[in-house]
């Protein structure tokens, strides 16, 4: 504990409590209480380490309602790594038994079945009914490109068009790809978000070895969260480096476009399209150019930016594991996203994350807005006439 205090307080010492982070925090805007904002979360984390306070329900609610959107880190003039501090606080609380019940349910599901829905792993490919033949040909085959589908795409029927679309595109382009099927586990993000980061090692080792055994050189993910876990978080937490390149569908497809392999000049998509930057791809990684390049390459598209975009993009509320802890809070943010899309008369919101997709889509339904939610791979598949 003393060593941790040393390490953590070094990170927190930089904070001058200027509240710039509070001014942009989406959860503080919704809830108002200091403990639901970054400055309060840092104060609680430090107070816990210093023994001034002990974790309780209020602190759990404070630390676990952070959307991990990284807006506070982006804006902090003192360079405070707020998100990392909050995740460390969660780790300490997890170890003390103060992680929220909903986070623990996901953790238990992983322990039972290696997926967040606690479904039989044999059902991992149920999503592929529409593209069954293609998937069967590629399942556990040797291939240079590995596709990491992710739990949401695999098990949520309403999101199955995301993996189906990418598979169709890869098949259309004749790419040498493979899928792990039931050997694909959850990336382990629920452990990371709940605070049980030590468990990530097993997940990293499993995926590194599974893809390696198939000769994979590049893993592509359609889920922004899985992408970042595979690419960065496994290494940050365990020190293990992936023995392959990890890319998100955004950069994977943009690269194919640059190489001239992906030809979008035949189809047409006469709609006003906007792009929502998932926090995991935007502020966490800086992947802004690739999706815009792809969308703007589609003939007929009128691309419009949201009022708050790129590094200032409003988090949709779908991240950080918050949907489980405070569903109303998560939805309140998604509703704001739809409001912004309406302001620019967008007919479709494109994103690169099934979690954002699902949350924003629900908000669109609640508002009965005439806007379509789409994943980047979905719009590309449609532009290619593959739907």
């Amino acid at each position: 504990m003393h060593e941790k205090i040393e390490n953590w307080s070094q990170a927190m010492l930089k904070c001058v409590r200027c509240a710039k982070c509070n001014s942009i925090c989406p959860t503080l805007e919704e809830r108002g209480w200091e403990v639901i904002g970054p400055r309060g979360r840092i104060k609680m984390a430090l107070g816990m380490l210093q023994g001034k306070i002990f974790p309780n329900e209020l602190m759990t609610n404070g630390e676990y309602t952070c959307l991990i959107c990284n807006h506070c880190v982006e804006i902090c003039p003192s360079g405070v790594e707020c998100t990392e501090i909050i995740l460390h606080a969660r780790e300490e609380m997890f170890n003390q038994g103060f992680a929220p019940q909903t986070s623990m349910m996901l953790v238990e599901a992983l322990e039972e079945e290696h997926n967040i829905f606690e479904m039989d792993q044999e059902d991992r490919t149920l999503w592929s009914m529409e593209v069954e033949d293609i998937v069967e040909d590629h399942l556990n085959s040797d291939g240079k490109i590995g596709y990491f589908v992710g739990c949401l795409g695999s098990f949520m029927g309403r999101l199955s068009q995301i993996p189906s679309s990418l598979v169709k595109v890869m098949d259309h382009l004749g790419l040498d790809f493979t899928l792990l099927g039931e050997e694909e586990w959850c990336c382990g993000s629920p452990y990371y978000l709940a605070g049980g980061r030590e468990m990530l090692k097993e997940y990293a080792e499993h995926h590194f070895s599974a893809f390696n055994n198939l000769g994979v050189e590049k893993v592509v993910a359609t889920c922004a969260g899985c992408y970042r876990v595979l690419k960065d978080i496994y290494t940050q937490v365990t020190g293990l480096k992936p023995p392959f390149e990890v890319v998100h569908a955004n950069e994977f497809l943009a690269d194919l476009l640059d190489q001239g392999k992906l030809q979008l000049n035949n189809g047409s998509f006469n709609k006003v399209i906007t792009y929502h930057d998932p926090c995991e791809l935007g502020r966490h990684v800086g992947m802004y150019a690739e999706p815009r390049k792809l969308i703007q390459a589609i003939p007929g598209v009128t691309f419009k930016e949201l009022p708050d975009t790129k590094k200032d993009c409003l988090c949709c509320g779908g991240g950080g594991g918050v949907k489980g802890v405070d569903a109303d809070l998560a939805m309140a943010r998604a509703l704001k996203k739809v409001d912004q899309a309406k302001l620019i008369n967008a007919e479709a919101i494109v994103s690169g994350c099934p979690s954002c997709y699902d949350n924003i889509n629900e908000a669109i339904k609640q508002q009965e807005a005439n806007i379509r939610m789409m994943d980047i791979v979905e719009i590309i598949a449609e532009a290619l006439g593959l739907e």
Binding site: Q10, K52, L58, S78, G79
Partner: protein, 482 residues
């Protein structure tokens, strides 16, 4: 004075009945989160309440009056002087939820707001109407209530004055719970004593503002900027004085001295700022036809005063580019030496403009003497300097050294005919200088006013040296909050 025993069960019952259980907290986790502001002090209140109306505040204050419980009105708690620290516990009123615009009266150039509205949010609302309410550098978070309490201002105080210049009227809950309105909707009044002026800048020790009427300032049609470089500090000071003497009142005049330029170059090497003694940034606002002649005249004055280089801009992109250095200095100042973090202490002195060069030279000497990085920048147009001191917060011996350093800074500012605070306020941090700066009689007058309005001393006690000896207060509360 000591922290008073409070019947917490009774208080809980009262607050539940008054604001509902969702709008207050007595949880230690919450209390710790509200125990600090941007200053280095920490003290937990006994309860935090988020009221939503004047009536609720009046009832709470009345209860506190009857039970002699301290009341601490608070906005975003971005203050650097400890103005919202619950020195003796009590109820901290978090007013950030009362953040509505209540009325906009463009014809009569005024807006009525609740105290918790954030300055930038208010200006977002006012922009389509062509107006603004000027604010401090922390306008992204600072609330109007906090700004009125501190009589806040920022770089544009040169042209707009401090908050005091645009508060027309206020609704206040007095320390016994009575509600009254001070001031007038007329744009000027000579009626009675200026109680709006008295309550503005009173740091929450006289009452709680619940509604504030503000005079609107028209958004400038155009702006321009002049940047001047000097290899002699005295020439930079002289240039500012000569500008005013020529009858030009710029929107603002900012100074970055050698320490700031070094910090910015280290933080962002591509800026490649020249290694000079001082950089001045003048901003001019007004109608489009008057900008260019004014900027040209300022450039001439700077050259006549010894500037080695002057750049001018009236186009947005170029203006932003020239302003970039100033906007980076805060972030740059915390990165000068690894392991050193900024503390808000001795950070807000203001001296007569002609004494700025002497003050800057003195600060450089202190930086060497104490071996702490000090990056100095500020609003030279009104003599207000912000020395950003960084220390190793976790090293015990740095704290007494810091105390000695800020003592030297503040005493020098007073010696030069200045003040220990240009815009951040007294609070706890600078209370020990009240007698020295104002003299015993003036301080006694302030104490008499405080006692007349708040005989039980429940409103934000422990601030501005109005009650307990500041040295005793400082010995009682942790002042090394990291």
């Amino acid at each position: 004075m000591e922290r008073k025993w409070i019947d917490k069960e009774k208080l809980k019952e009262f607050l539940t009945a008054t604001v509902g259980k969702e709008s207050f907290s007595m949880d230690p986790v919450m209390l710790l989160a509200f125990a600090t502001d941007a200053s280095r002090f920490e003290s937990m209140p006994d309860a935090v309440v988020r009221p939503n109306s004047t009536e609720q505040i009046s009832r709470i204050v009345r209860y506190c009056y009857e039970n002699e419980i301290p009341v601490i009105p608070a906005g975003a708690r971005t203050g650097a002087s400890g103005g919202t620290i619950a020195v003796y516990g009590g109820i901290l009123l978090d007013l950030t939820g009362m953040n509505n615009v209540l009325a906009l009266d463009v014809d009569n150039l005024q807006v009525c707001v609740e105290p918790g509205i954030v300055n930038d949010k208010l200006n977002e609302f006012l922009k389509p109407h062509g107006f603004l309410v000027p604010g401090p550098a922390s306008s992204y978070a600072a609330t109007l209530g906090g700004m009125v309490g501190n009589d806040s201002s920022g770089k544009k105080a040169v042209s707009y004055g401090t908050t005091d210049a645009y508060v027309l009227k206020m609704e206040v809950v007095l320390p016994d719970g009575r509600v009254t309105t001070l001031g007038s909707n007329a744009l000027k009044t000579a009626s009675g004593m200026n109680l709006v002026g008295l309550f503005t800048g009173s740091e929450g020790v006289l009452g709680v503002y619940t509604k504030i009427w503000l005079r609107l300032i028209p958004l400038p049609e155009a702006e321009g900027i002049a940047m001047a470089l000097f290899d002699e500090l005295t020439n930079a000071g002289r240039a500012v004085i000569n500008t005013f003497k020529a009858g030009i009142i710029p929107g603002c005049v900012e100074i970055l001295d050698k320490s700031s330029i070094y910090a910015i170059n280290q933080y962002k090497p591509e800026m490649n700022l020249p290694d000079v003694e001082a950089m001045l940034l003048y901003e001019v606002e007004g109608s489009s036809f008057e900008i260019e002649p004014k900027i040209n005249r300022i450039a001439e004055i700077c050259k006549e005063s010894g500037a080695i280089e002057v750049k001018k801009a009236t186009e947005k992109a170029e203006i932003d580019r020239l302003w970039e250095a100033r906007s980076l200095v805060g972030a740059a100042s915390v990165r000068v030496r690894k392991g050193y973090a900024r503390v808000y202490a001795g950070e807000d002195i203001s001296v007569p403009i002609s004494n700025i060069p002497e003050m800057l030279t003195f600060l450089r000497e202190l930086s060497i003497k104490y071996d702490f990085p000090i990056v100095t920048f500020g609003h030279i147009g009104d003599g207000n300097l912000h020395p950003a001191i960084t220390i190793r917060k976790e090293v015990a011996e740095d704290w007494p050294k810091l105390e000695a350093l800020i003592e030297e800074i503040n005493l020098k500012a007073l010696e030069l005919g200045g003040t220990v605070t240009g815009e951040h306020g007294i609070g706890i941090a600078r209370a020990r200088y009240m007698k020295l700066e104002h003299g015993e009689v003036a301080l006694d007058l302030m104490k008499l006013i405080k006692r007349a309005i708040d005989p039980k001393n429940i409103m934000n006690p422990g601030k501005m040296a109005l009650d307990e000896d500041p040295e005793v207060i400082l010995s009682k509360i942790p002042d090394r909050t990291i």
